[in-house]
Amino acid sequence: MALLNVDQLSVTFGGLQAVNQLSFQVLPGHIHGLIGPNGAGKTTVFNVITRIYNPDSGRISLLDQNVLGLEPHEVAAAGITRTFQNVELFQNLSVLDNVLAGQHTRIRYGMVASAVGIRRVRQEEDRATREALQLLELVKLRSVASHAASSLPFGQQRMLELARAIAVRPKLLLLDEPAAGMNSRESAELSELLRMIRAKFGLGILLVEHDMRVVMNICDRVTVMQYGQKLFEGTPYEVRSSPEVIEAYLGKKRSSTPR
């Protein structure tokens, strides 16, 4: 059974067809790339999966659960979370608190319990904090745990957002251009990190990315979009060699006869 099944998804905004009858699957344990020129509709797909937008038609399911029946805040508990193109951190909270926020659905006590201050509250908070610090260790941010999130440089903010997303313990992690602005060393490190996360937490990753080094390096399968539709799908190698994909990115080859 597929981890994520997107079936004939169509989304229009006003008069614009952003996504047109898109279908693809993310298999369990896969890192699946979603690539395409700007405006192809990739982020729109993310936004529909996380229920920020409503599609016109189509179905999306996570294992056997219908995703489109969920409210935006129910998506995390169902097992899907994401990072954002423009990092959306809780800027006034500490680095640690950002990760703790990610654990919201997994910390078990309510408002009245916390007001009264029963012992369970303390236990849950301690457990969550230990776990959060371990996650920060993974992304090399443990030393700045008490700093304000806004004080971090951009690259570290991205790592923090990743740690927060993992803290949700999703089955599927949506990453929106995590390598944007990185140099080759940084993107290599990111590739390693993502592989490690996939192995350690047993999750699937759907990755929107323009950096082809990362895509070719770690993706098990790649779906190529153009003008809201699926143009091609296959392994990274197949994608790289596909004439349609090359044409979409680079334009049609003029002529092959040498003069």
């Binding site: 905004f13 982020t43 920020i52 959306e88």
Partner: protein, 289 residues
Amino acid sequence: MLVQVIISGITSGAVYALIALGFVMIYKAAGVMNFAQGQIVTLGAYFAVTLRDHMEFSYAASFLSAIFATGLLGVVLERLLFRPLIKAHESSVIIATIATGIILENVIRLVWGSEFYPFKTPFGVTAIDVGFALVTPQELWIFGITTALVLLLYGYFEWTKHGLAMRAVAINQTGSALMGINVGRVFSASWGINSALGAAAGILFAPLLAVTPVMGNAVSTSAFAAAVLGGAKSLPGAIVGGLTLGVVENLVGFYVSTALKPLLSFTLIIAILMVRPTGLLGREEIKKV
């Protein structure tokens, strides 16, 4: 009688529309709702009454001078107080404009005292028979000036470079800045025009209300409601909302009870924001993630 009520409704509606226009303009151009609006309206009236009754200016001269002075004050307020807050959280700006309004009101009280200043209309008080109703010269004047100012404003937006710049900033601040538009100057201009329009409204209303430190508050609250009704980012909406609210208020006041008039604006604000936040003529905005 009904026609009479409607006509005075249109008159107050015209004043609401004037204030609402300035209010919407700042919100569109600078993304700020001016909660000091009431006090600016009041200030305009005080400037005019002082120039006219204490410095022997003519009505026309005091009208124009007061509008200019208040407009200038608006620009100064923007540069000194609100420009530094451009990057701050919205609630900071809201609190800042409210605090400014309170400061203005208290300064007015200190300078001019709390008693009221009567403002005599420069025209006679005898009503003119226009066939289906009686209209006072002041009411005609209000309607005439409001129409003239609205047309001036329309001309400004459609045909001047500055007006075009303001429209551009209202759509996209960053893009406008990249095109070479001085966004800060547009902000100042929008505050200046908002204050000038508010002052005009205050002066037009003064003969009907008498000039007191709080005269602008109730009027401006109705103008807020009118702006929300029409669509807080819609200039035509401000006019439609203003006129509609003026008429409805007067009808309610006449047929039900005058005590309910202030309640009407407040309830209307809540009701509209619950049902159709973008108002009658506004359009929904989508934030891109």
